[in-house]
């Protein structure tokens, strides 16, 4: 193993480019805030830019991990933003009707209710996609449109505020000096990785995404797998919804989780999961979500007006997609490789006469 070949092996690793982008983005911050990587302890809590990136990015990571599996089956779920809003609205409205908002049992019941609503949404999406055979974009569009209406119906168009310490823990609380939501995210990611990579489940998901019909013929219950991933995606969106509403102690049917579906898809794409389905990378998605959150933080720290955030995001989407497109690579890099080939030592004898003819 010489150094160049090891370097090549490293750059060929599927996580290399997402990690490189993340590290580059983090380093950009250093000249502007020299103590960017510093983490200090105040009141028994750890504070620092890195901690807050993970903290603010955690709902996005959750949604994106769920989205990864859906995209791996060749689908897409646009309804996650609405599911976030419904879960938050249902949970907060239940808690706000409690006599004692701090009672743990009431809070747990409320969270259970919210997650049940998320499961119902997931089942509905899965039913439409797998049983009725409707295109995923369209099937999930229904809840995307109607879901926000339902969330507003639950909250009666108001922003419901709750004052509950146990509920506050998920999104804004601390545990073992770290924000509690980091543990929630870590648990969900760990469970997902174990389920998909230590059991055959991941392989089945990839098989369904690669070719649903072929996988059905070899005996995989592709419909059941599809329904399962939509339910999983909705549940992770539901947990993200709990987190968002708990962090602000309020449920806003209109704005909670707005655009999160687009950010989640973006995170999945940055992480190297193909939108065509058939292969996925949970690790890549987590890094992709962190890249998006770091981008937002970076825009704040280097003092670029925050409104350019969306333009940056658009540029990132375009660049990542172009790099993923085989045709683009063939056109741009392929042309360079062809023009470089005659310059290689073996070729010049043949290349020269051809030049004269033409």
């Amino acid at each position: 193993m010489t150094t160049p070949s090891r370097w090549r092996a490293l750059t060929r690793h599927h996580l290399f480019w997402p990690v490189a982008v993340l590290v580059a983005l983090l380093l950009v911050n250093v000249p502007f805030t020299p103590d960017f990587f510093a983490i200090h302890m105040t009141n028994g809590h750890l504070y620092g830019s890195l901690v807050s990136i993970v903290l603010f990015g955690s709902p996005l990571i959750l949604v994106a991990v769920g989205m990864t599996l859906v995209i791996a089956t060749g689908g897409i779920d646009l309804s996650v933003g609405a599911v976030v809003a419904i879960t938050g609205a249902l949970t907060c409205s239940y808690i706000s009707h409690q006599a004692d908002q701090n009672a743990l049992s009431g809070v747990l019941l409320a969270m259970g209710l919210g997650l049940v609503a998320a499961v119902v949404c997931g089942l509905w999406n899965g039913f439409l996609v797998a049983r009725m055979g409707i295109q995923p974009i369209i099937a999930t569009l229904i809840i995307m449109v109607a879901g926000r209406g339902v969330a507003q119906l639950i909250t009666d168009g108001q922003i419901i505020t709750v004052n509950s310490d146990p509920y506050q823990l998920i999104g804004g609380g601390y545990w073992l000096t770290l924000p509690f939501s980091i543990f929630v995210v870590a648990a969900v990611v760990a469970v997902t990785v174990v389920l998909t990579r230590r059991t055959a489940l991941g392989l089945l998901v990839e098989a369904v995404g690669g070719n649903a019909e072929a996988s059905r013929l070899v005996g995989i219950r592709s419909r059941r797998i599809k329904i399962m991933v939509y339910v999983f995606c909705a549940v992770s969106a539901g947990i993200a919804g709990l987190m968002i509403s708990s962090n602000t102690s309020a449920a806003d049917g209109n704005n909670a989780g707005l655009w999160i579906e687009l950010d989640a898809i973006l995170a999945v794409v940055i992480g190297g999961t193909s939108l065509l389905g058939g292969r996925f990378s949970i690790g890549g998605t987590v890094i992709g979500a962190l890249v998006i959150q770091t981008l937002t933080t970076t825009i704040y720290t280097i003092g670029v007006p925050t409104q350019t955030n969306l333009v940056f995001k658009a540029a990132v989407v375009i660049v990542v997609c172009l790099l993923q497109s085989p045709k683009f690579r063939a056109k741009v890099f392929g042309a360079r490789a062809k023009s470089a080939a005659p310059a290689a030592p073996a070729a010049p004898a043949e290349a020269a006469p051809k030049m004269e003819v033409s």
Binding site: I76, L128, M132, G133, I134, Q135, I137, I138, A139, L141, I142, I143, M144, V145, A146, G147, R148, G149, V150, Q152, L153, D156, G157, G253, L262, I265, L266, V269, L275, L276, P305, Q307, T308, N309, L310, V311, F312, K313, A314, A315, V317, I318, C321, L322, Q324, S325, P326, K327, F328, K331
Partner: protein, 340 residues
């Protein structure tokens, strides 16, 4: 399918019972939507008779209040008919209101100069997206998603605050009403109807329209038939960009300001209108007139909710979702029948 009630006249018509033939008819969704519109209108008429629902102006207001949605939905019809999707519609509308408001109000250009600029910016945006979609074979969904981010971001780059337009040309245009005898229409509504007419002609009576149908039906066969795939696709997205920009201008006239948050999520309304209007989301089948009825149904839901008074605005979203769902299932039933 078992009972044969009449002998097939042509070898292709295997569907023999009347109901099966009806389900196989491509015009069915449009007729259903038109019927739905009629039923809703009559229901509204009987319920709110004493509140002036029967006034012709209430009907004409549907066109006035939804002129921009109609134009945007017509653009989306072409894209969906070709088998693609355009998520950037709402952002382009918002960006156009912002750009025109900024150029008219802050830069001080006359409206006559600003309108072509805005339209060409929108069309150019659509062209770029179409170019990337065709030449690099990236999914339309993700490219137009980037467009959504880009144009919404550019809105905010122009200004974070909304810009009110006090230009006299704009306000006089906005207030002009064209009398029809029983009521009147705004300039916006007239423009929208003209766009609808042009789209109808282009889709059904030109080569370009046939190509859009062919590509939406089966891209591979269209290519093998020698149809210019790239040119048509790019043209479709350019047209959608143009329609979105025009919708933005109409929206600007309607609301007389530019705001970076104008028309957030309007692409969903446009897509919903197209689907409710009976255009098949897989492409290749549908009518522009169906889109008109789709927009009218959405508009009627809004006005019924206004007349009802006690219902809140979010019922619009729920009703739209339910309708969307019903129509998708009807479409599914139709295509399943065709496949067998």
């Amino acid at each position: 399918m078992s009972a044969t009630t009449r002998t097939p006249t042509t070898p292709e018509s295997r569907t023999t019972s009347t109901s099966a033939r009806l389900l196989g008819d491509r015009r069915l969704p449009v007729l259903v939507t038109a019927g739905l519109f009629l039923v809703m209108y009559i229901a509204g008429l009987s319920r709110y008779q004493n509140y002036g629902f029967g006034e012709p102006q209430v009907f004409l207001n549907l066109f006035i209040d939804n002129s921009y949605l109609l134009v945007a939905a017509v653009g989306a019809t072409f894209v969906i008919m070709s088998g693609g999707i355009d998520l950037s519609v709402g952002s382009v509308i918002g960006f156009t209101t912002m750009l025109t408001a900024w150029l008219v109000q802050d830069v001080g250009l006359p409206l006559l100069v600003v309108v072509p600029i805005s339209l060409s910016v929108g069309a150019f945006g659509g062209f770029l997206m179409g170019y990337v979609i065709h030449n690099f074979e990236i999914q339309p969904f993700i490219v137009t998603l980037a467009g959504l981010f880009l144009f919404r971001g550019l809105c905010l780059v122009i200004s974070k605050e909304s810009i009110a337009i006090s230009d006299s040309a704009v306000s006089s245009l906005a207030e002009t009403r064209i009398s029809l005898g029983v009521g009147d229409l705004s300039i916006g509504a007239v423009v929208a109807l003209v766009v609808l007419g042009v789209a109808f002609y282009v889709l059904h009576y030109t080569r370009f329209g046939r190509r859009v149908y062919a590509i939406g039906g089966n891209e591979q066969s269209a290519l093998l038939m020698g149809l210019p795939l790239g040119g048509t696709k790019i043209a479709v997205y350019t047209m959608s960009g143009f329609c979105s920009a025009l919708a933005g201008l109409l929206f600007m006239l309607y609301i007389q300001s530019g705001d970076p948050l104008h028309a957030v999520g309007m692409e969903l309304d446009a897509i919903a209108a197209v689907v409710i209007g009976g255009t098949l989301l897989t492409g290749g089948s549908g009518y522009v007139l169906g889109t008109l009825f789709g927009v009218l149904v959405l508009g009627l839901i809004k006005s019924i909710i206004q007349f009802e008074g006690t219902l809140s605005s979010w019922w619009t979203k729920i009703a739209t979702g339910v309708l969307l769902c019903a129509f998708i299932l009807v479409q599914r039933a139709m295509t399943a029948r065709k496949a067998t």
